[in-house]
Amino acid sequence: MGAEDVASDLETSRSYRVVAELATGLEPEGVAVDTGRRRAYVACARSNAVTVVDLVGDVVVGEVAVGREPMDIAFDELTGRLFTADLLGETVSVVESSSLRLVATVGVGLYPSGLTLDAKRRRLYCGCALSATVAVIDVDTLELVASIDAEPGAGAIAVDARRSRVYCANFLAGSLTVIDGRRNRVLQHAEVGPAPCAVAVNPARDELYVANSFADTVSRIDLATSAVTGSMNAGRTPVGAAVAPAGDRLYVSNRGAGTVSVLGTEDGMEWARIPVGEGPGGCTVDPVSGRLLVANAGAGSLTVVEDLLAERPTVSPDEPRHELLGRQLPPFALPDMRTELVRTSREWAERKYILNFFASW
């Protein structure tokens, strides 16, 4: 879907307003905000680049080449440096935001897929899925200072700055590794739901949230004890999470549904469901405007959303009935990956079958 297509398709309801949907590079996954320059940076994995967005005009203003398949992104306001976790490059790329140039690369573990910054302690943490480690980088010297054993699928990562604890979600293990950030030592591994893909800290409630992508749930963790205290329902295949500045709500991007769920952090209920682009991935909140930014991996776009809810609405969003249900499947004629020959739905006539839509990312 191109920018022209989405521009005419912006949606508004009483609970949200889609301000813009901007075409980015291919497979945008992670997004970070530079409050000083009023920019968003979007890691576009299949473009090996970062798309630069002006948040005042809601326009794309540039692109920076980084390592192979940048998956996640973090911005350091103090130095003005931007960091990407390059999945296939096995590096963290370092970009100077003043010049928008790649200035360094730091080697990390295998399949680096999650990043977070502890700005006060000047440490960047990178979850490396296939080496099951967390790389620790000094953001001033750009040196790798430690590699900490986590569990298989180490990826999404967040910091409890108050306690200097680091939480790494392990996608393949279905667990959360808790690290003492002062000593670079594992404190514990906690079981969460299947395939945890995103984590977000809520300082206002002293909680951490973990999106369990194979269960359509979000685990709630008490940061004081690192114990799982509950669970909330999200949409289909939640893979991104961001906490609103007031801490009263959590935004969860649902890759399987093309939506963002707005979850109340106190009541655990879904307050609203916002349609965004196809296959949404990472999301974050612009702390200046309060707007939600969602990277849509399938659509190749960034959705900018204004949350209009002052409080929990009296009515929860309906679960919409899909328009295809009970209807004849429209016929298909698509090339076979192996033979390149076109195959049609007639081949499967009078049989029960499942069409599984997927992407390799």
């Binding site: 295809l324 076979d336 029960k352 390799s360």
Partner: protein
């Protein structure tokens, strides 16, 4: 099960071949590179499963997580149209 790959952003065949080799995926894999068929069906994310009965009627859409998919398959096999 028929797998339909969408939204690869170029080089779909090569990428999907690598992916199927990595995960040992067999069976039919079709390419909907621009996502036109997905769009026709109103598919907005991945994974999405569309369950079709023997008369070609769509009985379920979604069922992205394993538990939900197993439940929908059971219903389809039992002929429960709901």
């Amino acid at each position: 099960m028929i797998l339909i790959d969408v939204w690869e952003g170029g080089e779909a065949r090569r990428r999907v071949q690598d992916y199927c080799e990595l995960w040992g995926i067999e069976g039919p894999v079709l390419l909907d590179e621009a996502g036109a068929y997905a769009k026709l069906l109103g598919i907005r994310g991945v994974p999405t499963n569309v369950l079709v009965d023997s008369t070609g009627i769509v009985r379920a859409v979604g069922a992205g997580n394993p538990d939900e998919l197993h439940a929908e398959v059971d219903r389809l096999l039992q002929g429960d149209p709901r």
